[in-house]
């Protein structure tokens, strides 16, 4: 049985769901096919635009994206404006405005200004468009502040004592722009989750969505804040799935000081929240999201994609649309593969672009030298991928981390590239209908 859509998106990450939304907003019938959760769901939830350029911390992403467009004409940000930096930045700003709208004020940020956030390693990194709960964690604005870091007993992923010592050391030694005065570690318990056993961020966030657990949480924090006089309170990324914004507002009000979540490792609650925000927004305007459905192959005739073959746990199914957007992610999400000999993109068999240097660098911690990070598919200025024969498929667009020529790990640009390219691919796909 064939089902016909105006547009089909492959991949339910930041790129795919953004593209889907743009097309559905124009009143079109859209389906997203997704085999599983991708990297968006694992991310810290903070949207990077550009965190490092030439190994320097970027303070103003707009300026540095402009430079990047000049120096790296193949970078996805350069493709956004077809080489025109003004146009590219317009798309960046539009797509972020558009994103902020769907978050219902749960995200904040300014494309002309990076902020610097702390993480579970007790180190720092820049980001740009961030959940409200992280807003007051900008280390650049916490100069000479005394912080309280609060861990949760049983939650072994975050160690407040380590975080406190490390952040103090790392910020004061290496972050030129600011200093911290002191970080005081404290611990609280979530009684409903039991004592002295492993508890996960997921369990804590679910518990804090309940009034009972949250009020116990708040009580303990209130008591701690009377013991030491601090300028702000930092907690791990656990403030709930449903009520995180509300919880955060209550905490700040009741404690009388800024409170913020720091960036976490996967499984990351803010990453899951971001995934949820994107899915809900798509759902709200009628996008069908088919989960657990892997696209196996595409049927192509005369450079036009006709149908997609898919498989789920139970059955095979054919999907048909007028346009398609490929947003199946990079290696982690299995949008791309490397089998030891060759690179391939499994659905359309698009050529995977990469340079001839070694996949990986000698040392593991190196910025920009793991060439495999730059591998991906190349698109033209309309966001259409180039096929093996050098032509473009007339009705296929691509976006997100499947794209070639950038390294989100080093430059800190992952969700930003996914959002902006997904936005443009969606707009272009819609215009082509």
């Amino acid at each position: 049985m064939d089902i016909h859509y105006d547009a089909i998106i492959i991949g339910a990450g930041m790129a795919g769901l953004t593209a889907a939304r743009k097309i559905a907003e124009a009143g079109k019938k859209v389906a997203v096919l997704s085999r599983g959760l991708g990297t968006t769901n694992m991310s810290t939830g903070a949207i990077d635009l550009l965190g490092y350029a030439q190994n320097k911390l970027v303070l103003n992403p707009e300026d540095e994206i402009r430079n990047l467009i000049r120096t790296s004409p193949k970078h996805p940000y350069a493709i956004l404006g077809n080489g025109d930096d003004k146009k590219a930045l317009e798309i960046v700003k539009d797509s972020i405005k558009d994103f902020l709208k769907i978050t219902n004020m749960a995200y904040v940020g300014d494309t002309a200004q990076n902020i610097v956030l702390s993480n579970y390693f007790g180190t720092y990194r820049p980001s740009c468009i961030i959940p409200l709960t992280m807003r007051h964690g900008n280390l650049l604005e916490l100069t000479d502040a005394k912080l309280m870091a609060v861990g949760v007993r049983g939650y072994a992923e975050f160690n407040a004592k380590f975080f406190a010592k490390s952040l103090h050391y790392v910020v004061n030694s290496f972050l030129r722009q600011t200093t911290t005065n002191e970080v005081v570690p404290k611990e609280i318990t979530i009684p409903s989750l039991g004592k002295d056993k492993d508890i996960t961020s997921i369990e804590i966030a679910e518990a804090l969505d309940t009034e009972e657990a949250f009020s116990r949480f708040l009580e303990q924090l209130k008591e701690l804040i009377t013991e030491v006089d601090v300028d702000a309170v930092v907690v791990p990324a656990i403030l709930g799935y449903k009520n995180w914004v509300k919880n955060h507002t209550i905490l700040e009000k009741e404690l009388g000081v800024p409170v913020f979540e720091c960036l976490s490792l996967p499984p990351s609650v803010p990453g899951q929240r971001l995934q949820q925000i994107l899915e809900n927004a798509a759902n709200d305007i009628g996008v069908e999201i088919h989960r657990g459905l892997q696209v196996l192959s595409a049927h192509i005739e005369n450079n036009e994609c006709k149908t997609l073959e898919t498989v789920s746990d139970i059955y095979r199914q054919t999907f048909k649309a007028d346009v398609y957007v490929l947003a199946s992610g990079s290696f982690i999400a299995e949008g791309l593969y490397f089998d030891g000999n060759k690179f391939y993109e499994p659905v359309f068999n698009l050529p995977v672009h990469r340079d001839n240097r070694n996949n990986f660098s000698e040392r593991r911690l190196e910025s920009g030298n793991h060439r495999i990070a730059f591998a991906g598919i190349q698109v033209n200025q309309a966001m259409k991928p180039i096929a093996q024969n050098g032509d473009v498929l007339t009705n296929l667009f691509a976006a997100g981390s499947i794209l070639a020529n950038y390294d989100y790990i080093s430059e800190k640009s992952g969700l930003g590239v996914a959002l902006t390219t997904g936005y443009l691919a969606g707009v272009n796909a819609n215009n082509s209908l």
Binding site: R125, A156, L365, I409
Partner: protein, 546 residues
């Protein structure tokens, strides 16, 4: 002035066992190791507890030693040496069928127990074997986990009064005329240099033995012989599987916990510190491994590593003869006219106890001490009988039963110490590594009692970080433990430990990065560099400590 009866240089299996042996004989000893225990060849081996089968045709002396020693080890080190059983299989059309008779005859001559199997029986025992089997034999091969074997050995010596000093490198020998009287030590952790004196200095530095001898102007003919091994993600066999042919590259697969290790090669090297792994060698291991089991090609490669064997060359007068691959105890008094120095090198891990016994006998003779060797009947800590039951432990401590089960599996009787600390400090019940089920208490135990100073040290002792995620998610949790429990670490040291560990693990994983292992690596790099920002911060952190 610090004085000992004996100074032992080298914290591999041999040095640790010489220390245990001499301490059991009542001597005051100190063990000096420049890195961590078993950071040399003893930590870079294939992990096969040899029944002797491998050597019955080409090196009968080694075969006999292995046959006897493997039995003893299964008794005294039951927590780290396991009798898995082993097969020798000849593959039709590939392996020389005439080897079969030579093998059978060799086993008889060397007292290596064996039993011929029909191809069908062999396949029933190991269903993932290549089906084209021509002949097959069963032998008493086993597997050995060297890190725990060696820390248990050192632990027993320490319990009896030996001083175990890791990250302590011998940089010079003190000489009084033709007598070695002591050593100069560089403590790498504290950055200090000091001297120690003793009646006897034992050079148990394996493939590095020539370098220590050089400090006394003595020449020892050692050629490093590199071997490469590849770890795959599934335990394809329950037994060790060997090719029934003259020993060659890639002809043994050793099962190890939930993985299997394919090995190995033999390439002469100039420098004992160099053992690079090449992509060609990894390919060769996979190709040869696939002859033993076609399933090797489907498996996920977890990591590759290599080590240098100490191959003892010909002594003057021995040139041209077929030299046994067995060990050498060199009495430098009779050999070179230098008293106070003995070298033990060559051999295998399987024969390390015997090597130590012969060395300690010579030391005892020199120091006129009348005490017999008792190492063959003294069980290592953990190897004693115990009645720990994981279900009961799990219930009592309210921990996941897998955690209890794995902890007992690793430490046997010694697991009691870990469970006691869980009782005292409930927070140590939490899991530090959820791939391998390692608790904070176990990590704490290695820091408190087993000379673990770095994340790599912890992982070698507990297997934390060796699971599917290859440290991606547990690195930070292990660092927390090092931070909580190690005594003299500053926060900068812990940050350095994280960086060192990330790079250390890279040495093994970077050769096998495709398909799922590649996904895992990119995820780990996202965690370390995208979230942790270590790609930007590592140089700054390392520099600031200098």
């Amino acid at each position: 002035m610090e004085r000992f009866d004996a100074i032992i240089i080298g914290g591999g299996a041999t040095g640790a066992e010489v220390t245990r042996d001499l301490t059991l004989r009542g001597l005051k000893t100190v063990l000096l190791e420049r890195h961590d225990l078993s950071s040399g060849t003893s930590g870079r081996l294939h992990g096969l507890l040899h029944s002797g089968g491998r050597y019955v045709v080409k090196d009968k002396e080694s075969a006999r030693e292995c046959a006897e020693e493997s039995k003893i080890l299964l008794e005294i080190a039951s927590n780290s040496a396991h009798l898995t059983g082993g097969l020798f299989v000849g593959i039709s059309g590939i392996d020389d069928p005439e080897f079969r008779d030579l093998f059978l005859q060799g086993c008889r001559e060397c007292n290596v127990e064996t039993k011929e199997l029909s191809p069908k029986e062999a396949l029933q025992m190991e269903p993932y074997l290549n089906e084209d089997i021509e002949s097959a034999f069963y032998v008493n091969d086993g597997s050995v986990y060297p890190f725990r074997l060696i820390v248990s050995t050192a632990l027993q010596a320490a319990q009896l009064g030996a001083s175990i000093r890791t990250y302590s490198e011998v940089i010079a020998l003190h000489k009084d005329d033709a007598t070695v009287t002591g050593v100069r030590v560089k403590d790498h952790r504290k950055g200090k240099i000091y001297d120690l004196y003793a009646d006897c200095v034992i050079n148990a530095t394996g493939v590095w033995a020539g370098e220590i001898a050089k400090l006394a102007n003595i020449h020892i003919p050692i050629t490093p012989s590199k071997g490469v091994m590849v770890v795959i993600d599934r335990r394809l066999f329950t037994r060790v599987v060997n090719r029934l042919r003259f020993p060659a590259n890639g002809d043994i697969i050793v099962p190890h916990i939930s993985t299997a290790i394919i090995g190995t090669t033999s390439v002469s090297m100039e420098d004992p510190d160099q053992f690079p792994v090449t992509a060609e060698e990894v390919d060769e291991m996979i190709r040869e491994g696939a002859v033993l089991s076609p399933f090797v090609e489907e498996a996920r490669m977890v990591r590759a590593y290599a080590g240098n064997r100490p191959l003892f060359g010909a002594e003057p007068g021995e040139e041209g003869r077929e030299i046994s691959r067995t060990f050498r105890v060199l009495d430098h008094e009779t050999r070179d006219g230098v008293t106070g120095l003995i070298t033990i090198t060559g051999g295998k891990l399987t024969t390390y106890r015997l090597m130590a016994e012969k060395t300690a006998d010579l030391v005892a003779e020199k120091l006129c001490i009348h005490a017999d060797c008792v190492t063959h009947k003294t069980k290592l800590p953990g190897a004693e009988e115990h009645d720990l039951n994981f279900v009961e432990v799990a219930k009592k401590l309210k921990i996941p039963w897998l955690l209890a089960d794995r902890t007992i599996g690793r430490w046997e009787a010694e697991a009691k110490t870990i469970f006691t600390s869980m009782e005292k400090n409930p927070l140590t019940r939490l899991t530090a590594c959820s791939c391998e089920y390692v608790s904070n208490a176990e990590v704490k135990y290695t820091i408190d009692k087993l000379w673990a100073y770095t994340l790599e040290d912890i992982c070698k002792r507990t297997q934390a970080g060796f699971g599917i995620c290859q440290g991606g998610l547990c690195t930070l949790k292990l660092a927390y433990q090092l931070f909580e429990y190690s005594k003299d670490n500053e926060i900068a040291d812990i940050q350095k430990a994280i960086i060192d560990f990330i790079e250390e693990r890279w040495k093994g994983t970077k050769f096998v990065l495709w398909m799922n292992q590649l996904r895992q690596e990119l995820l780990n790099q996202s965690v370390f560099s995208c979230v942790g920002n270590y790609d930007q911060l590592h140089e700054k952190i390392l520099k600031s400590r200098k």
